[in-house]
Symmetry: C2
Amino acid sequence: MNGRAAGEQVTIADVARHAGVAASTVSYVLSGKRAISADTRTRVLASVRTLGYHPNAGARALASRKANVIALVLPLRTGMQVPVVMRFATAVVTTARGYDHDVLLVTADEGPAGLHRIAGSALVDGVLLMDVELEDSRVPLLRELALPGVLIGHPADSTGLACVDLDFRRAGELCVEHLAGAGHRRIALLGAPAAVYDRGTGFAHRTRRGVVAAADRLGVEAVTRPCEEGPAAVRRDLAALLAEHPDVTGLVVQNEAAVGPVLSTLPLLGRRVPQDVSVVAVCPDELAEPSGLTCVPVPAEEVGRQAVTLLMRRLRDEPVPEVTLLEPRLTVRDTSAGTGR
Amino acid sequence: MNGRAAGEQVTIADVARHAGVAASTVSYVLSGKRAISADTRTRVLASVRTLGYHPNAGARALASRKANVIALVLPLRTGMQVPVVMRFATAVVTTARGYDHDVLLVTADEGPAGLHRIAGSALVDGVLLMDVELEDSRVPLLRELALPGVLIGHPADSTGLACVDLDFRRAGELCVEHLAGAGHRRIALLGAPAAVYDRGTGFAHRTRRGVVAAADRLGVEAVTRPCEEGPAAVRRDLAALLAEHPDVTGLVVQNEAAVGPVLSTLPLLGRRVPQDVSVVAVCPDELAEPSGLTCVPVPAEEVGRQAVTLLMRRLRDEPVPEVTLLEPRLTVRDTSAGTGR
DNA sequence: CCGGTTCGTCGAAGCGCTTCGACGAACCGG
DNA sequence: CCGGTTCGTCGAAGCGCTTCGACGAACCGG
């Protein structure tokens, strides 16, 4: 094929020899950091192609002090929205590739030590931290290491950081506004598992705050309640909610695992959807769409793209906003309707 | 802290100076490739710790011709079992870290070009390919590039490769054996979406073959049918199946998205579970356990661990078996019972 | 007690890039 | 037409490691 045994590295010297120029010239053609004549450029690029040259990543990283790799620190705990994480990860990889960067996968269980290692060894140029908690132990470390980072979610103190997230507070408001606008006066939020609130996860708290604030503002009644995972648990928690508050006609669900069970359980509890109870959810759209569920989708791809874009800006030392909130939008489907008042 | 500005690299020369030895000696202490006196070793290790030294990944990769990174090529297409992928990815990262390797995330949509790039730039030492199809375009490429790889799933021709997977054929047999053993004589497989069979995905085909083979062997009747995703589609496909074969009493489900809808739809079609129809699934245990579903779990963690272990052996040029099949086991729960004959 | 091993350590070379300074050639304006 | 810029290219140095060969020191057996 290219006249080399498989597995043998083609080096910049090979390209230089083939094109009849100096290695540095090849480097400049590839990086565009110095002017190169059109003639030389085409010759070099042709040699690059015929030899199948790819710069050695280690050498490049060593010489340029840039790894061209970013770390994606994934959470893997109860209450995380698994499909969202996958879509997010894909968007991150794809976007990063567009900036000529690769993505190193780090799991949260390596914890702060993982960040230390990664920063110390110059394996990556920056990190994307998912599922950031209000008081996240990795955040001060990030500051201390001077490792450029972008957070998904946001901590209590975001000074000097860059955070991206859906505006969950606004999402909560949007759900309530939609229900109140349709005439509902008693609204309930069936939220994430209690453990998620307990460890201070931002999105759960912020949605709840949005629901409560909008209800106050619009003069409707709102109760909120965590909800555990698993069909049986959901049925139990939903039944308990409706037993305590039988006059609820608007239900906001923020719990991916609860969406299916909620819709199948409501009829069993004597509530038709949407005639007796309207349901809106904050959840991935794939989950909502097949059931005809009115929802505020979590724009995983958009978050991923934004996060990478912000990180790339940080890597170029451009200023970035501390907090980037993505505007939620509500998709109306069949599970929400007016009260008929 | 360590007497250095944050972000400044500590190099092996710093450690050598601090410990009063040559840089090469520090290297040998860390790699263990030459005998070092106990005294020197402790002194060097102490310096490593106080200075917070981490070898520069690029320099190390360049000098040793080993990146200490493996690539995980994820699929992201219809029909993939998302939670399984996540658990698998976690197991891969954790296991790889145990071998002092990191994991680079590559998405399948970069395709063969991604493998070329990764191999050419020596970014990784080997690759893990998920969701391998019977005729996978990446497989010949892997052979050509002489890039050590381990496949999850297995292609039609596994010569010279290393494949790991659950023994899906055996899993299919196990389901049928369980049902036949309980007295069921008419069994149906509700399988993956048609697209999954069409692109020749191994696990789907092999499960189907196992179901059919065991049914033949045991003299029971078996019909198989693909099943699309989404609650409505599942209801439709299941209803069609039961309309065509109303006397089916044993149902094998291999379709993560279908499990919930199947269980909720059967009663609506006048079939009580398990009195009228027994249901067993090949699916992640998290999905089955809360519903009391009898199932053959996909051991994602085990597959991940095995895959990494095999790849590490390949990287050390040790021989590895071409095919490693993990023995499935069936967990009996509430959705399967005897026919009462 | 002396010559050959083994042990422990060192210095130098080299991995494949990027980047810096240098330097002709071409260009241009007064 | 000539001196100063700009353009295009080159060679050398250096990034931070690993690994090789060398070489004293310590050890050991006959």
